[in-house]
């Protein structure tokens, strides 16, 4: 098997992956799961690098003295504490909670737990893999994600305080 990557095919597949089209809610859940996963992965990388700068950055590999650490910490906080990053964290909260609940739904579906009992299907019926309980879990993930976003906004910026 050759190791050459066909980038034109990859680009076409990316377009197919990102545009759910008319294929229904389960297809939307697939796209959203991938998009949220990639965005949260990028946030995770940035988060590990950023928390590293809280103790002095990539050059510090021994225990620094307390004053140095406190100075590095305050610099990192003053860099991070602005409305743009706070709003970004609220979006991350939204995506993480959606990805979590939808991921639990996918694990349950993988082991056949909330799919209902097998029966004969008619043509053009809704797919058996996306039963009513699966649908309920999908909408639960969406609503909990929106709640998480509002909670994050409140915790970081205090938007719902009197």
């Amino acid at each position: 098997m050759s190791q050459r990557v066909r980038w034109s095919t990859a680009l076409q597949n990316l377009k197919t992956m990102l545009i759910p089209g008319k294929y229904g809610l389960e297809r939307w859940s697939y796209t959203l799961q991938r998009v949220s996963g990639v965005v949260v992965s990028l946030y995770f990388i940035a988060h590990v690098l950023e928390t590293g700068s809280f103790v002095g950055g990539v050059t510090v590999w021994a225990i620094p003295d307390y004053d140095f650490a406190e100075r590095a910490y305050r610099e990192a906080v003053s860099f991070l504490k602005n409305p743009i990053f706070d709003a970004g964290l609220a979006v991350i909260g939204l995506l993480v909670v959606f990805h979590t609940i939808n991921g639990v739904r996918l694990v349950l579906a993988h082991f056949g737990l909330v799919l209902g009992s097998p029966r004969r299907r008619e043509i053009l019926e809704t797919p058996a893999s996306f039963s009513n309980r699966q649908r309920a879990l999908f909408w639960l993930s969406i609503s909990l994600a929106i709640f998480a976003m509002l909670y994050t906004l409140d915790a970081l910026m205090g938007v719902f305080r009197p």
């Binding site: 190791q3 990859a10 996963g37 990388i45 690098l49 225990i63 620094p64 305050r74 504490k81 639990v104």
Partner: protein, 121 residues
């Protein structure tokens, strides 16, 4: 490792993130005493009851952070590997090695951060 077992590892690390990430978010967000935003309460560099450093000094919580770091790295980079394999239509050994290298660096760097914050006096 067979793809089927990799998928089981993906689920196992996902559930581990649910546990460790729950602890992580709990220590950050839910302990703030409703006196102000977390910038004024949790994110302070001192030994306030709810500040961030005591979380790292506590050995169990530091270990849970380490577990979160490792399981999130495995989950995230395996997810990226799956998406890239879907996009290019087959597995590519160089993409997988590159992702492994970045993940290994992240684990080492994050472990360093946790250890320094744990042992800071």
């Amino acid at each position: 490792m067979r793809e089927r077992n990799v998928m089981l590892l993906h689920y196992a690390t996902g559930l581990a993130i649910l546990l460790f990430g729950g602890i992580h978010i709990w220590t950050l967000f839910f302990t703030y005493p409703f006196q102000g935003t977390i910038w004024e309460t949790t994110m302070r560099f001192d030994s306030m009851p709810y500040a961030i450093l005591p979380v790292y000094r506590n050995t169990l919580l530091a270990l849970s952070l380490l577990g979160l770091l490792v399981s999130t790295t495995i989950h995230a980079f395996n997810g990226l590997r799956i998406i890239l394999a879907e996009l290019i239509g087959k597995r590519n050994i160089w993409i997988e090695r590159g992702l492994f290298a970045i993940g290994a660096f992240l684990v080492i760097y994050g472990t360093r951060t946790i250890l320094i914050a744990h042992m800071l006096v």
